[in-house]
Symmetry: C2
Subunit: 254 residues, 2 copies
């Protein structure tokens, strides 16, 4: 994160960025991503966990469709974490999360994640600070477990929109019949807690650094998609993966 306060961090692309040119470049990056994902699957040495967080209407669903929806669904899994069920609440908060950690060779997307347990819960004071900091520590340790014991690379994206843009998008949900299914009265109530959410997100970025956060300016979808696709591409490229070649009997190991 460039700045400490989200309120001082841009939610839009730098002025000089050209929308059409960026969209053209995205097409090439998605082609690269497709190839890299195939390699990840073929090599099956690493896995990738992508955490997507953001306020309501920050564009999480659209990002998943437009960037990860272009990849082979056989190797890409998406899990949306909703409010926990009674059975999930009867376990530690990471239990339902761990169940969806990626197998080697796979890309796993989390649409919302373990971080909700230190965001919405804190804003509404369902948990106290002591519990929140214990959870943060547990999250760091859990992410470390995946990195150290399963070669899982973790990328966390915060889709950063402005309150004005959020308002515009929530209103659109009322007007547009194709978006009305997303309308939830409570979203407006939550929107009033904007500053509290920003504070809790900032605290989360400060304390949960076992894997890097990328703060993605997200008022413009084309820029958001470009930033996320590029970050994922760069991470996969850095793994220097190789197609394993012909496997012969007796060469495999546990």
């Amino acid at each position: 994160m460039g700045k400490n306060k989200l309120g001082e961090t841009d939610t839009r692309a730098p002025k000089e960025w050209d929308k059409q040119e960026t969209k053209n470049r995205l097409v090439d990056i998605l082609a690269e991503l497709d190839e890299l994902q195939n390699l990840l699957y073929a090599e099956s040495k690493h896995s990738l966990l992508i955490v997507i967080q953001g306020m309501d209407a920050a564009g999480k669903d659209g990002l998943i469709r437009n960037v990860f929806g272009r990849l082979n669904p056989q190797g890409v899994l998406v899990t949306s974490f909703k409010a926990p069920t009674a059975v999930e609440l009867a376990h530690d908060f990471l239990w339902r999360i761990h169940a969806h950690s990626p197998a080697k060779g796979y890309i796993q997307i989390f649409n919302r994640s373990q971080y909700e347990d230190i965001l919405v819960t804190r804003v509404h004071k369902w948990i106290d600070d002591d519990t929140a900091y214990k959870r943060m520590k547990a999250i760091n340790r859990w992410e470390h477990l995946l990195k150290e014991h399963n070669s899982t690379h973790i990328l966390k994206f915060y889709l950063h929109i402005s309150p004005d843009e959020q308002r515009r998008r929530l209103d659109e949900r009322i007007k547009n019949p194709a978006k009305q299914w997303k309308y939830n009265e409570d979203d407006y109530k939550e929107a009033r807690l904007w500053d509290d959410y920003m504070e809790m997100y900032e605290d989360c970025f400060r304390h949960c650094n076992e894997a890097p956060w990328t703060i993605v300016p997200a008022d413009q979808n084309w820029y958001k998609e470009y930033i996320v696709a590029t970050t994922v591409r760069d991470t996969l490229k850095a793994l220097n993966m190789q197609y394993p070649g012909l496997k012969r009997k007796g060469q495999e190991q546990a």
Copy 2:
């Protein structure tokens, strides 16, 4: 553990213990356990994880049947961990374990456990010491997670038999038609690695103390059952559980 070396630790009851008297006392303890398990389930504030480890033929299955088999199966779950599958091996070693951590109100028995990943694997040198110590740290942290974030109480039992008793029991598996299904040629091979196993168990007891180990003299089943049942009873009793009384609407919380 009373002594540092397993080889110097008794595998039999103290001489003065009377078998029949102990068996009679066990009957009373099992009745207490039954009541305490019902209370655990009714209150649903805590959970209990019981890890059972031991060499082949140490009597793990018999213990589970004779002690935990007397409790209400609705609130008592048993998971036997065998050699990991390909899918399990494609995840961190705690992934398949975490999936079976107990919900509040439940007793979960692990017949073998996360500890196999630093025992059999180390004896056969499938992993190096560095990996083993990292795994131990991860196990400690995982047990801490359950304790801190789900009020899970963890008891770990090592069923301690002598090599002579093991030999006697393995031979019995060949002779007795009702036990032949348990016979596994490899058990004799593993038995030859006795000293290596003892060394790895001792190292595990030294480093994995997030929850207590009980070394159970296990050459005599009656004594083994008594020690385990008593330890579980004492742990549940110390929770000072209460039946929750009538629940009225609006009193429940997440």
